[in-house]
């Protein structure tokens, strides 16, 4: 029944290395998109224009209320019908980045709302422009309370990268499926994928907490 084969495990290990790098790249690029786009979504909901606010808020709600897999399929398979042909990588990055930007925009929103009104008033009294008020005063203070949530979603996006295997992005899950299919052995590849994910997620969560504490200290807020 339980016949773990070490020789097989070592034989397939090198094939996971490239896949692991791809997974990390996908998570990193997707997260990069989400961090920037999420901030854009959060700020867009604070403009004086009510129409912009409503449209962006509804888009965020829509993205958060539909499955990631659906969004990946949509960008990859429906896009070409509108003349937008994307490689699996590009489509996957757009879909996962967009998906997580919706979640991150909510994290930022909470952080931005936590900055006291007096800070805005001080900026008015110093006559700072709206852009400088945001980028020099408000966002630096909104960041530390957002870091915990941002860290959660960094681990979250990393764990969601296997979804990209459905459109053929060569990440860990895709590699494990391939190995399993060609050798008719699934125990070792899937177990190894699980261990690799665990080995990256756990220290990452710890590092994020360290980073959060460092950031608070650097910004003089304890």
């Amino acid at each position: 029944m339980f016949d773990w084969r070490w020789d097989f495990a070592f034989e397939i290990l090198p094939r996971f290395l490239q896949a692991m790098l791809n997974t990390l790249a996908a998570a990193g690029v997707g997260y990069g998109i989400a961090v920037v786009l999420g901030l854009v979504f959060a700020l867009a909901q604070r403009t004086p224009s009510r129409i912009v606010t409503i449209v962006v808020r509804e888009c965020v709600e829509f993205i958060r209320s539909t499955p990631l897999v659906l969004q990946i399929f949509f960008v990859f398979f429906v896009g070409p019908q509108f003349g937008i042909r994307l490689s699996p990588w590009v489509a996957g990055m757009i879909a996962i980045g967009l998906h997580y930007s919706a979640y991150l925009s909510e994290v930022y929103r909470g952080g931005l709302d936590s900055v006291p009104k007096g800070q805005w008033e001080a900026c008015t009294a110093l006559n700072l422009s709206t852009t400088k008020t945001y980028f020099r005063v408000i966002i630096p203070q909104a960041l530390p309370p957002s870091l915990a949530g941002m860290g959660n979603y960094l681990v979250g996006i990393f764990k969601d990268t296997p979804m990209l295997s459905v459109i053929g992005v060569a990440e860990l899950m895709q590699a494990a499926n391939g190995i399993g299919g060609s050798h008719y052995r699934y125990l070792e590849p899937y177990t190894m994928v699980g261990i690799i994910f665990l080995a990256i997620s756990l220290p990452a969560a710890g590092l994020i907490r360290v980073f959060e504490a460092w950031m608070r200290k650097k910004l003089g807020m304890n």
Partner: protein
């Protein structure tokens, strides 16, 4: 709709006040906070606003800092409209761009200091001169260090606000506001959030400002003795109107109106 043609596009003449509230009304829904306020403050004058809470005294300062919009009337600063701008010969509500330009001559200190917590004392002071006035860093730094020395905070210039006491934070906040070289300074209950033993450090700085600088100042305070000492004029607000105003000796020493007498004796009893 108010007839705006009754308000001049600009104040002219030999004695244009630094600040003029002309028929200014402020209301929140049905609640009228200020009712047709007329108030002039001359250049270099120190005017203190006193009154019971809810009398609209803080609102006067907040409107002047453009933190609150007004519902009627016009505020002029240095002869030019602040809340409005001229368009085709009449005054229309100021747009954000005009507002930014118009309020550049006003500085304000707040009850809760509102220093930027992620910046040191010095960085707080440098921020405005560099980011708004476009001063080069060394010049902004020189100016800020001079002001921090003036308020006695130069030793703590590299500390973040979280490491400073309330009195120290408020002194940094005064330096930060002065670094913008305002013509009008507003002090909104700057000692109200302080422990009694440090109030003196902050009032001391304001005394120094009055003595050494020709700044126009408007102050809201509950420190009656302080107000009496340093004001050129004291305005007693009651229910959104100026009930009585005059030189501190006469207003505190010989108040004419019953409301003023009641307020002053209530304050005295509390001391």
């Amino acid at each position: 709709m108010e007839d705006m043609s009754q308000y001049p596009l600009e104040l002219t003449g030999p004695d244009v006040p630094m600040v003029r509230f002309m028929n200014v009304t402020k209301s929140y829904g049905a609640l009228t906070v200020l009712d047709s306020l007329d108030l002039d403050v001359s250049e270099g004058e120190m005017v203190t606003v006193i009154g019971p809470s809810g009398s609209g005294k803080t609102t006067v300062l907040r409107m002047l800092m453009t933190l609150e919009t007004i519902n009627g009337g016009v505020i002029y600063v240095d002869g030019k409209p602040l809340t409005h701008m001229g368009k085709n010969g009449v005054l229309v509500p100021a747009d954000p761009k005009y507002l930014r330009l118009a309020r550049s001559s006003i500085g304000m200190c707040f009850q809760h200091f509102n220093l930027f917590p992620h910046m040191t004392a010095l960085q707080n002071c440098i921020e405005g001169p560099m980011q708004v006035l476009g001063l080069p860093k060394n010049e902004a730094r020189e100016r800020s260090e001079e002001l921090l020395s003036m308020v006695g905070m130069i030793d703590k210039k590299d500390q973040h606000p979280s490491r400073l006491s309330g009195g120290q934070q408020q002194r940094v906040a005064i330096a930060r506001a002065l670094a913008m070289r305002p013509k009008v300074m507003l002090f909104d209950e700057v000692t109200s959030a302080l422990d009694p033993e440090v109030i003196g450090e902050v009032t001391g700085v304001i005394r120094k400002l009055v003595a050494e600088h020709n700044l126009t100042m408007l102050m809201v305070t509950h420190q009656m003795a302080f107000a009496r000492d340093i004001s050129d004029r004291v305005c007693f607000f009651y229910q959104g109107k100026i009930e009585e105003q005059g030189a501190p000796e006469s207003l505190f020493g010989n108040p004419q109106r019953e409301r003023t007498q009641q307020f002053l004796s209530a304050v005295k009893a509390a001391d």
